[in-house]
Symmetry: D2
């Protein structure tokens, strides 16, 4: 995916715009669009959003846009995204041991 | 990664908090933390952020947090994230043909 | 408020960091912090957040931070924020006439 | 402004959608739109955005949208926004005394 995005940007001479700072702002824009889909929905309705005729395509598209910018951002920064995610998962498991975290929304809100 | 996140939430009885609506807000929080790292940096400095002693770990951690929430969000929504991203890449290629898009920041800002 | 913020930045020689681009990123960071307060709350609980011992101060502080950055951003851009808000209120009233918009969440989600 | 927004929502029977949680998501959407205006601009260009024929109206409109949602959010939460902002300004002055903060981007990035 990272290679496809690099080729995509290079072919259009868009690499000049893809500084990490700019890409973080583009990512913010996409998360804003994702947020707009869900803003007036109840939590229950949000669980069915990907099957809703009016929202399904937008949900998939905005999720994709967020992912594509995260992958592109990691690439221009030189960060191994998979390694970073694995490292964070292990750190989270150590930070929130099952015995203490179980069902505790109070602890959870401290994330 | 999706399976690891599901197990992580289930073991802590946190699935009750993971509605799509809530996860979009959590994603917003992580993008906000990513943005804070880059907010006072110049574009040039942002290109070296992942190698900066003060910022490198935070950059990797926040990128990972964003990715983890995107993967978790797609999972609870029942969206195939890889398929959605491939679909969007093809749609972008059709929307911005190389012949017209080349180097044009004006067109690009219309994304 | 705008004058107080200008003096605050000038005294600390921080005007050099306050480009509109940077301030939009700082605003994003504050909205992320606001979002983190509410992310695991139900809608009902969110209505009582400003009276909750654990959250009241954070709610006030993050709302203030968002407002301060919006005011500062308008100032460095040279935008009259009150005039812009009045203009937008009138535009919204014309876009969503009471007769058509009443109770319609469908229309509303199209905002 | 707060009263005008309450009347606007009441007339359209939209108060049912305006929980603090939902309004934070709507605010996120507007900040995303603001971010999209500036994402590919250099810092220098961003300083002239409010005078740019292509961007001036959008800059004013998105700033207004952000302000309107902050005011509405404070209102439904029962927070006195002016008091909260004054309190935060004083807290910031104490946290970043001129003698220590002057020109220090390092300290500043720790905000």
């Amino acid at each position: 995916m990272s290679e496809a995005l690099t080729a995509f940007a290079r072919e259009r001479d868009w690499e000049q715009f893809h500084s990490p700072k700019n890409l973080v702002m583009a990512l913010t824009g996409e998360v804003g669009e994702l947020s707009e889909i869900f803003q007036w929905m109840s939590e229950e309705d949000s669980k069915r959003a990907a099957g809703h005729p009016q929202h399904a395509q937008a949900v998939r598209d905005e999720l994709a846009d967020v992912l594509l910018y995260v992958v592109r951002l990691a690439d221009v920064l030189g960060v191994d995204l998979n390694a970073a995610a694995e490292h964070k998962l292990k750190a989270n498991a150590a930070k929130y041991p099952v015995s203490k975290a179980r069902g505790s929304s109070k602890k959870y809100t401290e994330i």
